[in-house]
Amino acid sequence: MKTVKITLCITIICAIGFSAFSGCGSLPIGELTKGAQLVAQATHTITEEEEYYLGRAVAANILTKYPLWKNQKMTDYVNTIGTLLSLRSERPEVFGGYHFGILDTGEVNAWSAPGGIILLTRGLVNLASGEDELAAVIAHEISHIVSKDPLKAVKSERLKQLGLFAAQNVTKGELADVLNDSVLDVTGTLLQKGYSRTAEKKADLEALDLLDAAGYNPNALLSMLEKIEEIETKKAAVFSAHPKANTRISYTNERIKQMQTVDTVKYRTERFKKATS
């Protein structure tokens, strides 16, 4: 087989990232130790453990909008593909490990919650004609987690609150309110606003490298994007929060031309059929 079809990019979200907010010099710090004052004044950076709890909540929120497809065989298959890819990524270890699930909807989409929980739709899985195309979509999502793109969706005011909370006695209720608001920040970006074109392009290009590192054919991303472009021309809702597929096809194609790939897709054909049958 000369060209593997694959796919795409999916996306969405992941983690919370905080980029930063700097400075709370005028905050009512009160009676604090020197260390506490310094913490309150510093930029708040989400820890791996905080990212994990945010990601769990984001995934739990998405699962109220889309039902989880509890198909053991298919879920194990995508988890095996995803785990392998994560081990070849620049961020192989996350606090609670990577987890991959399938949502029971015909919509073609994918999201990454902070901390490594990746959700694919059945519509997207059905669009893939081989394991490499599934891997391409998952690789794109893992790249968002490596870059902590989902965390960057958390508004700076939440970070300020967290920084202030770190220097005060707060109740679980106050903290839960910030967590709840942060979840809505992330799901809003994942499901509606989408990431920047720059972040999406970076995730696509890094997905190509990740596929290559794991032994998959990077052309699979290109073939998946071509399928998405076809759907877009029919004006169907597909990766609505992503840049247009034709733009992505252009730069993906340019990068693939520079790569030396070995096509071993035939060794994965049967197990893909078995998993998806």
Binding site: A59, L68, N79, G215
Partner: protein
């Protein structure tokens, strides 16, 4: 250095697919013996030596090292303050909102794990790497 992820494996070679020497958990202290690319050759508090990936360790257990001038590592104050971020307690609080969160299915998803032996076979059979 300490383990910053929930759980991880101490392995025999700088490769995730190599054999497991031991299991480590969040907060376990480590002594670094040498660096090999993205891997660290370390000794645990039980004097067991092996490799661990850099992405699973932190200079302190809360990641606040350096905030306080002149101080190496996190102080007790810093550790206590870090515990006020997103944590299990905050999650318990929002779990009551059934209309906004479906933690039951999320937990089903979190239980899906893949043994290393399965990954090794998967790679071999699929001519992956």
């Amino acid at each position: 250095m300490k383990i910053k992820v929930k759980n991880t494996r101490l392995v025999s070679k700088p490769d995730f697919l190599s054999s497991t020497i031991g299991n480590l958990k969040n907060g376990d202290p480590l002594k670094i013996i040498k660096e090999t690319g993205s891997w660290l050759f370390v000794k645990t508090s039980d004097n067991v030596e092996g490799y661990i990936h850099k992405s699973s360790v932190a200079k302190s257990n809360v990641g606040l090292t350096g905030l306080i001038p002149g101080q190496k590592g996190a102080s007790k104050d810093e550790i206590a303050l870090a515990a006020k971020g997103f944590n299990e307690g905050a999650e318990q609080k929002i779990k009551g909102n059934k209309g906004t969160y479906n933690f039951e299915d999320m937990e089903w998803l979190m239980k899906r794990t893949v043994p290393v032996s399965q990954i090794v076979t998967f790679i071999k059979e699929g001519r992956l790497k």
